[in-house]
Each structure stands twice: as C-alpha cells, then as structure tokens.
Symmetry: C2
Subunit: 324 residues, 2 copies
C-alpha cells in the first residue's frame, strides 16, 4: 500500500485547480494537510472561498485553507483570467457556500509551519503563481531543507507559452517570484505546457463526471463546460488541457514519466520579450540528457501513459491504494 | 527550366558556409552575383580569404567577394568557433591560395549596390551573424523594398539553442543586429535549428565527396572530417548538421517545406538569460497557424523531404535545371 505522505497545495482556484484538489482528496498516497491560495486565475481571497466550498462539498472542511499573497512582486494583481475560469473562478457554477473560514495564518506562514512540523517529509505542490512560495522562502530560508520536494505546474520548455509566445501564465504572472523559487536549492519537478497541453480531457470525460452520484464530480463536470469553451479557441473542439491535476498526480508519483531530465532552469525576469519564460537547458537531448552538475529541477517533457482516464477514475473514487 | 535569379550571399566561411557556397554555385536557379563576409565562425577577413579560395577552386573567381563587419554591434569579435570549424575556418584543410583579392567595397556597400542594380529581384541569403545586413539597412533604408526576399540561417523556435539554452550562434553573436534585421519590413524566411539539426550529413555522404573527381568536393569531404568530430559530441556519432546549405537550398526554392508558418518573430536583445533567442509566436499551432496580420517572417519548422541526398547531388553537379 502506498504511504500517505503530507502534502501542501498552493493554488489559485480556478477550474483546473478544482480538478487538482478533487484529485488530491481522492488519490491514495496523498495526505492533504493544508491549502494556501495566491492570486492568479482569481484573487487569492476568492480562490480560498472556492477552495473551502469545494472541500465542504467533499466533506473535508477539516483541511486548513490560508489566504496568501494578493499582489505579485513586480505588479498588482489585475483581475486574473475570467475568460478562462469565469468571473467566480469556477466557470459560473454556484457551489453551496460553506460557513468555514480561512485560517488566520497567511499561506506562506501555513506552508512554513507545516514544513517545520513535517520536517523532511512535506511535499509541496504549487499550481498557481509562485508568489507564496517566494514569500515563504524569505520567512524561512531553511525551507528547502525542510521540504521533501516541490512540484510546480508552470512554464514551457520546447512548446509555445500561453500568455506570450514563450511565457506560461503561472510563471509569467510573477517571474521575479518564480526566479527565486526555481533558484532555491530544493528538489523541483516542473510540469510545463509540454505535457499539460498534450494530455486533454474530452467531452466524454466531462459527461462521465456529470453523470456521477458525487456532488463534487458533478460540479467539476459543470465547470468544465465553461473551461472547454475557452479551449475550443485553442484546440478547435470542446476539450481542455489538464495543467493542475497533472502536476498533482505527478507529485504523488501516480503517473509514469517517459522523458523528464534534471537540468538547469532559469526564469527570465527581464522586461524583454522573453519575460516569464522558463529557460531549460535541454541541449543534451541528442545524447539522452547527460548529468548537469548542480541541476535540481526535473522537467517533465513526456508521460509514459495516458492521463485522462486515471484522473476521472481518481475523482470518481475508483482508485484503490493498491492500484497506485 | 528554373529562372536563374540574382543572389547575394552573406557568410562567415566556415565549413557549412563552404557547403552552402558550393551548393549555390551548382544549384540551377541561383545566380550568385556577390558574396559578403562577416565575423562569426571566423573573422570577416579570413572568411573572405576562404571564400575566394573556394571560388577559385570552383573556377568562379569572377564573383566579387567583399569583407564586411569585423565586430558585432554590442561587443568585439572574440575569435569565433575554432573548436567547430578549425582555426582556419575550413577544418585545417589547406586550400590552394588564390591571388584574387576582395573588392574595395565593404560587404554592406556591395549588398546595397547589388540590391539597387537588381531592384525587386535580388535574393539575399544570410548564413552568418546579421551585422552586415543591419549595416546595409542603415546605409539604405529602402533596402527592404529593393530586395525580393531574405533567407536567414539562424535561431531556434521549439528546440534548444546551440550557444545558450535558447540562443543559436548566428543570432546570439549579434542580437542587436538580428533584432533590426528581423524587424525590417522585408519578406524573411528563417531557417532555424528546428530543421538544420534534424537533417544530417552522415559518413557515407562524406565518403561520396572524398571520392569525387572534383577538387572542391574533395576539399569539402576533408573539412567535414573536422566538423564531424565536433558534432560527435552532440549526436554521439560522426555526422553533422547542415545549417548553411539547407538555408541556401530553401532560398532557391529547391526544398519542399512541410511546416513553415508566417508568424511574428522578435529577437531577445536584453542582457538576460534569453539573450539572442528568436522568439517566434507559434501559439496557433493547434489550429494550423492562423494568419497573423503584419507578420512577415516564415519560420521553417519541418521539411517535406530528406535534404542530404539533394545536397550531395547538387555539389557533385548531378542536378539538371529541369530537376529543380
């Protein structure tokens, strides 16, 4: 049986964040001990409200949710991505409102406390801008020693970006924070658009969620209707990328990776046309990526398996601890 | 029969420049009316001497060769790439020394004069840093109207660079010049590492050249021995990329292109980690690259055919005008 290890999720909930949250609640191997929110898809406070509503819907309002940074390091939050996630962040779906409130700690404070309490064991999954993680590094410079590993949904290595020709939204929203986080000496797995745009949820998956007996699954199916309309402009049919849940699944070791070299990664924090790019040194690709001394970031370029069926199975509670 | 159109070559000769030169002398459809050299693989003056020696070996010392810019816009030339091309630029091969000298004009002056004399008809092929082309644009701001089209070997769109994780040598040596040239309103075809690293010359091709009756072919075969040793560190076997000859062949329309969208391209001329990158807006790839108003740069991402046999056939004089 898979060991259930403590996991802190940093998110900007968000439709695909909702999928990631549902995944982590269901996945054997994950023990979600806290959630922090950051501005990104929506404002940090709205992301926390959405997260609390989703947790209540899943009967898990015991999990602490902390509001994190509202503004980015170099600019104020500008309203997020309502064209992608809807004005309320969950595609206009009206979730039952919980009365549970966020904890008094900030998200960076919650992360630091959990890292100290679970020293050497805490896994961090960041699926929004990296503003909270950068703030936590400043609160506790020993954070990289305390945390077991960090998995980040973000960046684009050998594929185009999604908010500029080279920048992906999570990194591009706060390149200064991302630069700090990627440079800190912890073990990082970066899950970039190279894989999240290659593994899609289709209409059949959405229908499966809509037909579920679980209220959370049905809510996710409804949200995906909104999300699919945005991605129809990208892929030419109703479907969606699976950015955040894929990062969550990779964090708990539930997805096989075919190509994931450990290489030097630097974030472009200039004001030039490459601002927000994750510059990954992949020049060794013809030689199977020889070791790069000092590199500590694994960049996921290719999965070994299809991900969508696993995601739907997990959310629907069809994964046993033995399967993973 | 293919129309032979006037063509100006800007190069930094260089082993693969030598292949491009030999290709253009042999290719039906090309009328090489002038060559300018720029520092890059070697110093501009040495590149001109190599070019004159190669032209003499081919019996074509009637073609004017002009020495161009020695230093880049933002820094001095630093000695080039002897580890790739040898200290003399042609892999240590001792070419018979011609007595023909470069013309008195500079390379930018030669380019401007040829563009005026062949107004609307001149094709420009640039296979070194873009320092000369940028200087020519300043000499004659109407150059983009006078030139029919510009083909540039340079950049990397969706593959790693070769002098940094994202920068290719021709662009990365003089990003300021490249930025000016790519922004000028002429019709550009960019031939980046995306294709030049995918179409390789193998040892069998080299042996074919070494066995030739033509002195130029044999010299090229010898040079390639040096070039292959560098690329053994990249590909793990003796072989080489075909950067420059591929750009030359695409310039004369001799190679079918499978994927070559016309998109916005910007050169990163910051001092950041992305310096020298060609930032190509390829975000429309899932929709077959919808038209981008104002874009004037065709980026070659995929060929429709194998290139190496065509190159060897051309150099060996086995192409008829009808074939192309």
């Amino acid at each position: 049986m898979t060991e259930r290890r403590p996991l802190y999720l940093d998110c900007d909930t968000g439709i695909d964040d909702s999928l990631a949250l549902a995944y982590l609640l269901a996945a054997p191997g994950a023990d979600l001990v806290g959630v922090g929110t950051v501005s990104g898809n929506v404002a940090a406070a709205l992301g926390a409200a959405n997260t609390l509503d989703l947790l209540a819907l899943a009967g898990r309002d015991d999990i602490p949710v902390a509001v994190g940074e509202h503004d980015f390091q170099a600019r104020e939050f500008d309203g997020g991505a309502p064209h992608v996630h809807g004005a309320n962040g969950v595609g206009g779906v009206e979730l039952p409102r919980t009365t549970t409130a966020p904890v008094a700690e900030s998200a960076p404070e919650l992360l630091v406390r959990l890292a100290r309490e679970n020293a050497g064991d805490l896994r961090v999954v960041a699926i929004g801008p990296l503003t909270n993680l950068a703030a936590a590094l400043r609160l506790e410079p020993r954070l990289p020693e305390l945390v077991a590993e960090v998995t980040i949904m973000g960046g684009a290595a050998l594929v185009p970006g999604n908010i500029s020709p080279v920048a992906e939204a999570n990194i591009g929203n706060d390149p200064e924070a991302a630069r700090e986080v990627l440079a800190a000496p912890w073990s990082i797995t970066l899950v970039p658009l190279d894989v999240t745009m290659e593994h899609l949820l289709e209409e059949s998956h959405r229908q499966e969620l809509l037909a579920s007996e679980r209220p959370l699954s049905r809510a996710l199916g409804e949200m995906l209707g909104y999300y699919y309309r945005f991605y129809e402009g990208v892929f030419g049919r109703p479907c969606s990328a699976m950015h955040d849940p894929l990062a969550a699944a990779i964090a708990v070791g539930a997805v096989g990776l075919r190509t994931a070299p450990v290489v030097h990664v630097e974030v472009d924090a200039t004001q030039g046309p490459g601002r927000g790019q994750t510059i990954c040194d992949l020049r060794g690709r013809h030689l199977g990526y020889p070791e790069q001394p000092g590199a500590h970031c694994r960049v996921v370029l290719e999965l070994a398996e299809d991900f969508a069926p696993h995601l739907v199975d997990a959310i629907e509670g069809r994964l046993s601890a033995e399967r993973v």
